[in-house]
Symmetry: C2
Subunit: 313 residues, 2 copies
DNA sequence: CCAAAGCATAAGTAAATATGATTACTAATA
DNA sequence: TATTAGTAATCATATTTACTTATGCTTTGG
């Protein structure tokens, strides 16, 4: 910690030092800074008191003041400090204008596959200087905590969420679908009855955020859930289904739709879908970029998600 | 120039920012800094007013305060600035202790050959961290001006010098000698009578600092000075003498005594020698290293120069 | 020896600051 | 629901700080 009188140094004092050096006299420095000569004299005296050393030798009379060795040291640091303060203001101005800066985004895997690249691509087109960082998590809780702590600027959540310290905006519903190997059997189907899972088992998540929703939804339909394989890696789940081990019940957004070897079927009767939310921190913590990100997310969500199934929070 | 309210930012304000971030609450930050909670609150408020942006989100109640985006920016710069101030104090302390730092030394050529390496070697042994810089000049005036302006910390001068704004210490006399080719003729001599120069001419300086002293000294003895060759390069003068072009009249310190092909002879009768001086700037501008340099210079001068001829200034 | 240039200092006033007490707000708890 | 504890903001006041003007001191140059 900076100690003693050094704490009372102000940017003005360092600027006075610079001004006197550059102008050559206290009087001219005062004119440049908008102070009286006496004020500059007192400011430099305050700086000297803080440092415990004179920064100028004042030969007296019309002879010019000269930096002491200590003054040369102080000048070097003063230039760095005043430059930093200038840069700080420039950064703040850029922040106010909404340009550049950081955007730390929290997600979970099924969002990362489909929605996120679209949204990030659009916001980077609008604001190329933005530094986008994406953090992935399996659960809502760490994302919410990071939003509150200011470590994230925006986050996707799986609803419903009840948390007063953040603002939560529903994007729409992400329905659960059945993923089957693309064979003669599945080719006949246009939807999948979850009751068929009884006896053959299912591929599912292992404690991930959607697991409970799926299990509860299936049980409500009378399905006795028997896991044949469990993983939290969406790619692995899909690979297992592709090889005919068993159907996988997954959120639609988590499915790689470009895989020709699987057949993706809606559930009929359906189970309650997962709600996709976008969350922002308290207004004071919001960046312009994060707000814009949320706007874009809502737009993209309306075109890609079943907004009809949204549950207001 | 830093403008507006930013000028009124103090180191304390930036430290308050850091302390609140690190301690988590205004109250604890106040305890750490030795202020009341209210003081920290006002200091942070002052910083926010200067920046025009809040740096903390205060959710209210027992919930922790959180840095805003603007606060994160400010924190980054605040760390740099407070670190710089710490470093400044460390530099000032080192200066007070006399360690390290800069030593800018002004010289002229004949000193550089012999005296300077000895002195620099000794002071670097004592203070290895010292950054020694040597500036050479032909005349006293620019050296004196640089001392007054603080551009030099110490300088050799050729006396006498009358200048109230610097302190001048005599080191001793540097006698003028005759440099002849080492041949059968010169081998017979143990001294050189300047009258012998009449008719054969002389090798001398071309407007250098010693030229006038030599000319006046020779003329006072009744020698009519006829230059055969003139240069300000001591090596070139000695080379010409070595080849027998004519004798060179040089300051003893400027002669390379290791040259076996020349013979260096005292003048008899002698001419008034040049006084070697060491000069320091006004006390406020003096570094510990410069003062020590002058001490060493006096010691070395006593062993290498004819101190008896010194003229007090 | 006087005028000019330059910085320091003193006095007065205005502004900023610290403190302690109080208020307001929130979360947790009874 | 009321209470308690923890937190920051606010208020009033005394103190400190900072700026301005005026004055004095020192040195240079005519």
């Amino acid at each position: 910690m900076v100690e003693g009188k050094l704490k009372h140094i102000e940017i003005r004092h360092l600027e006075a030092l610079r001004a006197v050096v550059e102008e050559g006299t206290f009087t001219d420095a005062g004119i440049r800074l908008g102070y009286s000569q006496a004020a500059v004299s007192q400011q430099v005296a305050a700086l000297e008191a803080a440092l415990g050393e004179s920064v100028f030798d004042r030969p007296g009379g019309p002879r010019p003041v000269v930096l002491t060795p200590a003054g040369r040291l102080a000048l070097r640091h003063a230039q760095v400090v005043t430059d930093r303060i200038d840069q700080l203001r420039a950064d703040i101005d850029a922040l106010k204008a909404g340009m550049g800066g950081r955007l730390a985004c929290g997600t979970f895997q099924s969002v990362s596959v489909e929605l996120l690249p679209t949204i990030v691509g659009r916001i980077l087109t609008e604001t190329p200087d933005l530094q986008v960082r994406v953090d992935e998590a399996d659960e809502n809780e760490p994302l919410i905590a990071s939003l509150i702590a200011g470590d994230l600027d925006v986050a996707f959540l799986a609803g419903p969420v009840q948390e007063p310290d953040i603002e939560v905006i529903p994007l729409g519903a992400d329905p659960f679908v059945a993923v089957l190997a693309n064979d003669e059997y599945s080719a006949e189907l246009t939807s999948y009855d979850p009751m068929l899972l009884n006896g053959i088992g299912v591929i599912g998540e292992n404690g991930g955020g959607a697991q409970l929703l799926i299990e509860n939804g299936l049980r409500a339909l009378g399905v006795s859930v028997q896991y044949v394989f469990r993983t939290n890696d969406n790619g692995a789940m899909q690979a297992m289904a592709r090889n005919g081990l068993a159907p996988a019940i997954m959120p639609l957004l988590a499915v790689d739709a470009h895989d020709p070897n699987v057949r993706v079927l809606p559930l009929n009767p359906p189970i309650p879908p997962r709600q996709i939310l976008i969350a922002l921190p308290r207004p004071a913590l919001r960046t312009a970029a994060a707000t814009r990100f949320a706007q874009i997310a809502v737009e993209v969500g309306q075109s890609r998600l079943n907004a009809g199934g949204a549950i207001p929070v």
